[in-house]
Amino acid sequence: MEYNLQIKDKTITVEMTLKQDCWLSATIKNSPDDRTDYEQIQYGRISDHQVRLMVNGQQINAWIIDQTDGKTIIIGGERFFIQDKDKLAQTQTLNPRTDKGPDQVTPPMPAVVINVPVQLGDIVEKGDTVVVVSAMKMETSLVAPHGGTITRIGINEGDKVMPGDILIDIEKNEVDKIEIN
């Protein structure tokens, strides 16, 4: 079986063959030129949130939790959020976490709007602060993902806002558009 897994903006292809007695072999392709073969991996579940792999004689403990559209996995202190691209495509909810953000002004978590230092019609540059929000008692600036003109301000100071809410629309300037093309 071949699987396409998404970690951040990277797609990793895994060819996996299950064998008897909880053995498997796999080939992992990070890119066309970067492939690693894993032969004779033994695996097993230890508990709801723990699986064990034995790879080349080394024991690996992985801690796992199912989350919306993916799993978080901790190995050796490293944390990964991994999604099954094909499954996401099937359920038509393909929305890897890295797809959002860069082009939108949205808070990364539930927060309260503290300050909106821009006005309708203002021209901003990429990186300019357009909204200041506060969460867990910490102020964070949300910045313009690209230069352009403020065409909509959807919030006021004191509003409670959620991830995914588009707080401000910025229309790209002609010059920017030309540069991009």
């Binding site: 579940r45 790879v55 796992i64």
Partner: protein
């Protein structure tokens, strides 16, 4: 000694205080907001009183509700922890009026030390060196600019009230000054209800070294050695250790004596901390005094063998210190890592949510101070500190190695934590060499990304988890029969 006390706090520090109370057979009363109905500090206490909605201003900062809860449960004293009401002189006065002992310093001492300007003046008068900068309040922007020009950029804008990294801005040039003052002032007003700010010289390569002090009501004041707290992100400490790699025995003695002098100048009673800045020329300056138990107190406890909460309770109960300065000595080295619910890849933005699974490392020389458990919720309303992991070893190198090991076995599923970031800091050559300073992270880790050494393995684990789940589902029809755990069907794999 008190028979029962109330803890006016939440999370790991409330649990920490309860631990010592249980050791001393003192009954404990927890208070909780709507968000904390099943929080760990509530479960661990003997009694628990609901004090209001999740918003801190209506619960953990609501002085009358907390004092009401203490009166109702007949608690004789209140431990404030850190944050919230711990450095609020008005609260101390209200406790006194209600004939409840406040486990901490007097309202007057808090007031004097809580205002950075007043404390700078007191320390100057007491002969304690302070950082170059302003010593008046209500400065105009012009005055700020003038002073900045005089002492030279970069300068630090600070709230005269508060602490915990709130209301602080580094300003590198005159152009930034106005915006920074405005933003710091607003943050200060939100956090502490006081918009006043002042300005002092910023030392980019300086260390943050603080001394723990204890003072009783009988004029006895001692220090419990230093803590090096230079590793900070967003002006908030994340790794602390003791002893400091930069402090020689003679410097330790000199700074310790100065800390005791400073505490005496403040007419201070109970546990407190004198924060110093140590520049790259080994000159030190008084920064501020924290008039409460510090987050990072466990490292001091581990190397001195002294329970600081017990000392706080003894002093508050009116007992004299039984320790003298010569009783205080360090054994080994201790490091603390703060485990926040935050995303180190995304500018340490908070990451509240449900802790689906939690497993702490154990074994010799490892201490966990935590406020969470598997299944609990980390509310969005409060500081994101989940727990503190402390290791103690014979040498600094051993203690670092033990911390890296412990972090690798520290499992939090459900919210993000900076564990991988902490491991990378602890493993970095400058940290290992002890070459740390307050903007260490900006200097060495501003573009940090996880190394993802185990990415291939994580992909395999992802698929194995799916495979195991499918296998279990396929045996679900037969409920009585235990589905064979994969390892029950294992062959012998290596011999």
């Amino acid at each position: 000694m008190f028979k029962k006390i109330l803890i006016a706090n939440r999370g790991e520090i409330a649990v920490r205080v309860i631990q010592t109370c249980k050791d001393m057979n003192i009954k404990t009363v927890a208070v909780y907001s709507d968000a904390d109905k099943t929080a760990l500090h509530v479960l661990e206490a003997d009694e628990a009183v609901h004090i209001g909605p999740s918003d801190p201003s209506q619960s953990y900062l609501a002085m009358d509700k907390i004092i009401g809860a203490a009166l109702k449960t007949r608690a004789q004293a209140i431990h404030p922890g850190y944050g919230f009401l711990s450095e609020n002189p008005e609260f101390v006065e209200k406790c006194t009026q209600a004939e409840i002992v406040f486990i901490g310093p007097s309202a007057q001492a808090i007031r004097k030390m809580g205002d950075k300007i007043t404390s700078r003046k007191i320390m100057m008068a007491g002969g304690v060196p302070i950082t170059p900068g302003l010593t008046g309040s209500h400065h105009t922007l012009d005055e700020m600019g003038q002073k900045a020009d005089e002492i030279g950029y970069p300068v630090l804008i600070k709230a005269t009230a508060g602490g915990g990294g709130k209301g602080i801005r580094i300003v590198h040039s005159q152009e930034e000054l106005s915006d920074a003052c405005e933003s710091a002032s607003r943050e200060a007003k939100n956090a502490f209800g006081n918009p006043d700010i002042y300005l002092e010289k910023f030392f980019p390569r300086a260390r943050h070294i603080e001394f723990q002090i204890l003072a009783d009501n009988f004029g006895n004041t001692i220090h419990l050695l230093e803590r090096e707290c230079s590793i900070q992100r967003r002006h908030q400490k994340i790794i602390e250790e003791t002893p400091s790699p930069a402090v020689s025995p003679s410097l330790r003695e000199e700074m310790g004596n100065t800390a005791v002098t400073a505490a005496k100048a403040a007419e201070y009673v109970n546990a407190g901390t004198i924060e110093f800045l140590l520049d790259d020329q080994n000159r030190y300056y008084f920064l501020e005094m924290n008039t409460r138990l510090q987050v990072e107190h466990p490292v001091t406890e581990m190397i001195t063998g002294i329970d600081l909460v017990r000392q706080q309770l003894e002093i508050a109960a009116g007992n004299p210190l039984t320790l003298t300065q010569s009783d205080i000595s360090a054994r080994g080295h201790a490091i603390e890592c703060r485990i926040y619910a935050e995303d180190p890849e995304n500018d340490f933005f908070p990451s509240p949510g449900k802790i689906e699974f939690f497993k702490e490392p154990g074994g010799p020389g490892i201490r966990n101070d935590s406020g969470i458990y598997s299944g609990c919720t980390v509310p969005v309303e409060y500081d994101p500190i989940l727990s503190k992991l402390t290791t103690h070893g014979e040498t600094r190198d051993q203690t670092i190695a033990k911390m890296i090991k412990a972090l690798k076995s520290y499992i939090v599923l459900g919210v993000k934590t900076p564990i991988d970031f902490l491991i990378d800091i602890l493993s970095s050559p400058p940290f290992k060499e002890g070459d740390v300073f307050t903007n260490f992270i900006d200097t060495h880790f501003s573009t940090w990304k996880p190394t993802e050494k185990n990415r291939d393995l994580a992909c395999l684990a992802f698929l194995v988890d799916e495979v195991c789940k499918k296998k279990n589902r396929s045996t679900d029809g037969d409920e009585k029969k235990q589905p064979p755990g994969p390892f029950h069907t294992l062959g012998n794999w290596n011999l």
